[in-house]
C-alpha cells in the first residue's frame, strides 16, 4: 500500500501494509493501482501552476511535495502567512489536502510541512533550529532503513541527533546524515532546480566573467528584454509575467518577477519594470548566467489606433498601472465599481484598474458621506422613538448637539444573504451639529419592533 486517504487511516490502515491485509481489515475497500508516473506528472502540473501564480522558483519535491522559493514574492500576495493560506485554500478547492510551511531552508520547511503544519506554519527568520528540534528523525529526508537503525540506537528526535558527536555517526551511516542535518539547519546551501514549462519563451545569456555591478545587470537586462520581445513578436504574444533569473557563481538563484496588467511587448517599458527592482537582488560573488522567461504570455495582435482627426484618444495609463502594481502589489491597485445593494458597505466592490468601464454609478438622490468608517461605531444618544433623529449624541467621548437632521432613510436587510437579515432594518439619519459637522448615523431596528434590530445607535460616516 502506497497511499491512503483520511477515512482509510481512521479505519486502521497504514502505509506500507500489504494490500491483501488491508482488504482483509476493511470490507469493500476501494483499491486503485499505484501510478507513480501519473503522480509525478500531476505534481509537475501543480508546480507549473505555482510557478505561474506565486514565485519564479518552484520545483516538484517528489513524491508528494512542492518546494517554492518565496524570497521577494510574498509581498505581492499580502505577506507570508496570507500567501500560504491562499495556497492551501486554492489547493483545497481543486481537491488537494495540502499543508504548507515557510522556513529559512528547504530541509526545515519540508519537515515542518509534514510534521507540524496545521495547515500552515511560518517560522520567523533564524528560528529554524528551534522549530525542528523536537521533530522525529524521519523528518530529515533520510532513507527509511537509516531512520530505522537510528531508532534502534535510541535516537528518536532531531535533538538527540544534534547532541551526539558527528564523527562516529558519519562513520556508521555515511555522509548523508550530516548533510541532511546541515541542510535542515540552514548551514549547508541546497539549490532548487526550478521547473521550466516546455513551451515557455525564454532567452539566456552566459557570462565568461561573472558580473556584479547594478549598471551591468541593467544593461544586460535591456539586451535580454530586446531578444525576448523579438521572440514574442514572431509568436505574436505579449508578456503578462516576466521572470528574470540570475544564477550566481555560488549556485544560488536571485530572481526578479514582474507582472503587467495587459499583454505587453514594449522593450522600453519591460526593461524599466525589471530594472526598477535591481536593487532588491544580491549579486554575491557575481552572476554567471541570466535567464529571462515570459512565464505567462498571452496573444497580442496589432491593433489600429484612432485615426480620426477630431477624436482625441484616451490617454493610456496601463504603464503606470504596471509600475505601481509591481511596487505595491496587484491587489492594492483598484477601481471602485457599484454593486446592486442598499447596504452601504456592500454597495461598492473593487475591480481591477484595467477592467472595462461600465459607465454605471450609484443612485444620486441620497447623500452619501465622504468617509465611511470601516466598522460602525456605537454612540450614545438621546432620541425620541420611533422616527426622530437624536437630539444629542456622544461619539468618541464628545457630546454633540444636533442642530439639523434629515432622515430616516430606511435600509432593509438582504434576506437572501443570511437568515439573520430576514427582518433586520437600519434607519439612517444625516445629522449636523452646532459647528456644522455632518455625520451619518443609524439606528439598528425600526424603533418599534425589537426583532428588527437592537435599537442601538451607530455612527457610520462623516460628510464633508
Amino acid at each position: 500500500m502506497r497511499a491512503a486517504d483520511t477515512a482509510a487511516i481512521a479505519a486502521g490502515l497504514r502505509i506500507g501494509m500489504p494490500a491483501t491485509k488491508a482488504q482483509a481489515l476493511v470490507k469493500d475497500l476501494i483499491v486503485n493501482d499505484a501510478d507513480p508516473q501519473g503522480d509525478a506528472e500531476a505534481l509537475d502540473r501543480l508546480a507549473l501552476w505555482a510557478l505561474r501564480r506565486y514565485a519564479p522558483i518552484v520545483a516538484p519535491d517528489p513524491p508528494d511535495g512542492l518546494v517554492v522559493d518565496t524570497t521577494g514574492a510574498d509581498h505581492l500576495h499580502g505577506g507570508e502567512s496570507a500567501m500560504l493560506t491562499d495556497m492551501v485554500k486554492r489547493l483545497a478547492a481543486a481537491g488537494f489536502a495540502a499543508r504548507a510551511a515557510i522556513a529559512d531552508s528547504w530541509g526545515a520547511a519540508h519537515a515542518l510541512a509534514r510534521f507540524v503544519a496545521g495547515p500552515v506554519i511560518v517560522v520567523p527568520p533564524a528560528g529554524n533550529a528551534n522549530a525542528i528540534m523536537r521533530l522525529p528523525i524521519a523528518a530529515l529526508r533520510l532513507p527509511a532503513d537509516m531512520v530505522d537503525s537510528l531508532r534502534k540506537l535510541g535516537l528518536d528526535r532531531i535533538l538527540d541527533l544534534v547532541a551526539k558527536p558527528r564523527a562516529p555517526l558519519a562513520l556508521r551511516f555515511g555522509p548523508e546524515l550530516g548533510r541532511r542535518l546541515d541542510q535542515a539547519m540552514g548551514r549547508l546551501s541546497e539549490p532548487i532546480d526550478p521547473i521550466r514549462p516546455p513551451d515557455i519563451t525564454e532567452v539566456r545569456r552566459m557570462f565568461g566573467e561573472p558580473i556584479g555591478a547594478a549598471e551591468t545587470i541593467a544593461r544586460y537586462t535591456g539586451k535580454l528584454v530586446g531578444e525576448l520581445c523579438d521572440v514574442l513578436e514572431t509568436r505574436s504574444l505579449g508578456a503578462r509575467r516576466l521572470d528574470l533569473l540570475l544564477h550566481r557563481v555560488d549556485n544560488r538563484i536571485e530572481t526578479i518577477r514582474i507582472g503587467t496588467a495587459l499583454p505587453l511587448r514594449d522593450t522600453k517599458r519591460l526593461t524599466r519594470l525589471l530594472t526598477d527592482k535591481i536593487e532588491t537582488i544580491d549579486p554575491g560573488f557575481g552572476i554567471e548566467l541570466m535567464r529571462l522567461a515570459a512565464t505567462i504570455a498571452e496573444p497580442l495582435v496589432a491593433r489600429q489606433t484612432i485615426s480620426s482627426l477630431i477624436e482625441t484618444p484616451e490617454a493610456d495609463v496601463s504603464d503606470l498601472i504596471d509600475t505601481l502594481s509591481n511596487r505595491v502589489g496587484e491587489e492594492r491597485l483598484y477601481r471602485m465599481a457599484p454593486m446592486a445593494s442598499d447596504v452601504p458597505e456592500r454597495s461598492v466592490r473593487r475591480v481591477a484598474p484595467t477592467a472595462p468601464e461600465s459607465g454605471e454609478g450609484w443612485p444620486r438622490h441620497w447623500p452619501r458621506p465622504a468617509r465611511l468608517l470601516p466598522v460602525p461605531e456605537p454612540i450614545e444618544t438621546v432620541a425620541l422613538l420611533p422616527d426622530h433623529p437624536p437630539v444629542t449624541f456622544i461619539w468618541r467621548g464628545i457630546r454633540r448637539r444636533v442642530k439639523r437632521a434629515d432622515g430616516p432613510e430606511r435600509i432593509f436587510g438582504e434576506w437572501w444573504r443570511r437568515d439573520a437579515e430576514l427582518i433586520a432594518v437600519r434607519d439612517y439619519f444625516q445629522v449636523e451639529d452646532e459647528a456644522g459637522e455632518r455625520y451619518w448615523i443609524y439606528r439598528a431596528g425600526d424603533g418599534e419592533d425589537l426583532t428588527t434590530g437592537s435599537h442601538r445607535w451607530f455612527l457610520h460616516g462623516i460628510f464633508g
Partner: protein, 253 residues
C-alpha cells in the same frame, strides 16, 4: 473675469524671472473655479495646472479629511483623463466621490502601505503624462519631498493635490511648515445652507487660501461641490431664518 492687466514693466520682469526659473517653455494654463471672487485672487485666474496644491481640513477635518477629499474630488472632476488617488487608509466612500462629479470609472486607487511608498506612488503618478489629476492623502510632507513632487507635476502638466491628513489634532501644526506647493488651502465645514423646511441643505465650507505663490491669501465662504464638481457662492438674497430646533420640532409635528 480676468485679473486687471499688469503694467508692461511688471509683466516683462515676470517673464525674465520665469526664464531664470527655466519654466518659460511651458505655457502656464489654469483650471478656473468658475467663481469670479476666487478666480480673481488666483494668479492667471484659476488653479495652476502642472503644479502641486495642498489641501487640509480644519478642526476635526484635519483627522477625517472629509471636506478636503470632496474639495479635491471637485477639482479632479473638472480635469480630463483618469485620476490616481493614493491612500493609506481605505475609508474613502466612492459614492460620495461620484456625487462630487468624479465617476468611479475615472478613479484608480492605490493603497500604499506607509508614508514613504505613498509619496513614491504620488510622484510616479505625477510624472505620468496621461492623468488629469493625482490626489494623495499624506500626513508629513517635507520641503524636499514637496519639491520633488512639484518638479514631477511640472514635467507632466497634471494637477497634484496633497490632502494633508493627520492622526491627531496636535500633529496638524505641521501644516505651518513651508513646502514647495503652489497653493495651500484649508477647508472647514460650516453650518449648511438653511432650508425653509426641516432638513439639511447643501454643504457649506469655509475655504481659506492660506498661501499662494504670487498672490495674497484670502478666504471665502462657499457651498460644497455639486455633481459636476463645481463650488458655488451662497446667495444672500434668499437668506431665510434657520430651521427650528430639533427638540421643538416634535410639538409642531
Amino acid at each position: 473675469m480676468s485679473a486687471p492687466a499688469p503694467p508692461a514693466v511688471i509683466s516683462d520682469l515676470r517673464e525674465r524671472i520665469q526664464r531664470l526659473e527655466g519654466s518659460i517653455a511651458r505655457r502656464r494654463t489654469v483650471l478656473p473655479f468658475g467663481i469670479r471672487e476666487i478666480d480673481r485672487v488666483l494668479p492667471g485666474g484659476g488653479l495652476a495646472v502642472g503644479s502641486l496644491h495642498e489641501v487640509a481640513g480644519g478642526g476635526n477635518g484635519a483627522i477625517d479629511g472629509a471636506a478636503a477629499a470632496l474639495f479635491a474630488a471637485g477639482i479632479a472632476a473638472r480635469t480630463r483623463g483618469k485620476v490616481l488617488w493614493c491612500v493609506t487608509k481605505p475609508d474613502l466612500f466612492a459614492p460620495a466621490i461620484a456625487q462630487a462629479g468624479l465617476p468611479p470609472d475615472r478613479v484608480i486607487y492605490v493603497e500604499a502601505g506607509d508614508e514613504k511608498s505613498i509619496l513614491a506612488c504620488f510622484e510616479e503618478g505625477l510624472r505620468h503624462p496621461g492623468l488629469g489629476a493625482v490626489v494623495a492623502e499624506v500626513a508629513r510632507l517635507s520641503m524636499t519631498a514637496s519639491r520633488r513632487l512639484q518638479l514631477a507635476a511640472e514635467t507632466s502638466g497634471s494637477i497634484g493635490i496633497a490632502i494633508r491628513r493627520w492622526r491627531r489634532q496636535t500633529e496638524a501644526v505641521d501644516f505651518g511648515q513651508p513646502t514647495a506647493s503652489v497653493t495651500r488651502w484649508r477647508v472647514s465645514v460650516l453650518p449648511s445652507t438653511p432650508l425653509p423646511v426641516p432638513g439639511i441643505g447643501r454643504a457649506r465650507w469655509q475655504l481659506e487660501l492660506i498661501r499662494c505663490r504670487g498672490a495674497e491669501s484670502a478666504d471665502f465662504e462657499v457651498e460644497g461641490c455639486d455633481d459636476e464638481g463645481r463650488l458655488a457662492l451662497p446667495s444672500n438674497v434668499v437668506y431665510r431664518s434657520s430651521q427650528k430646533e430639533i427638540g421643538r420640532r416634535r410639538t409642531s409635528a
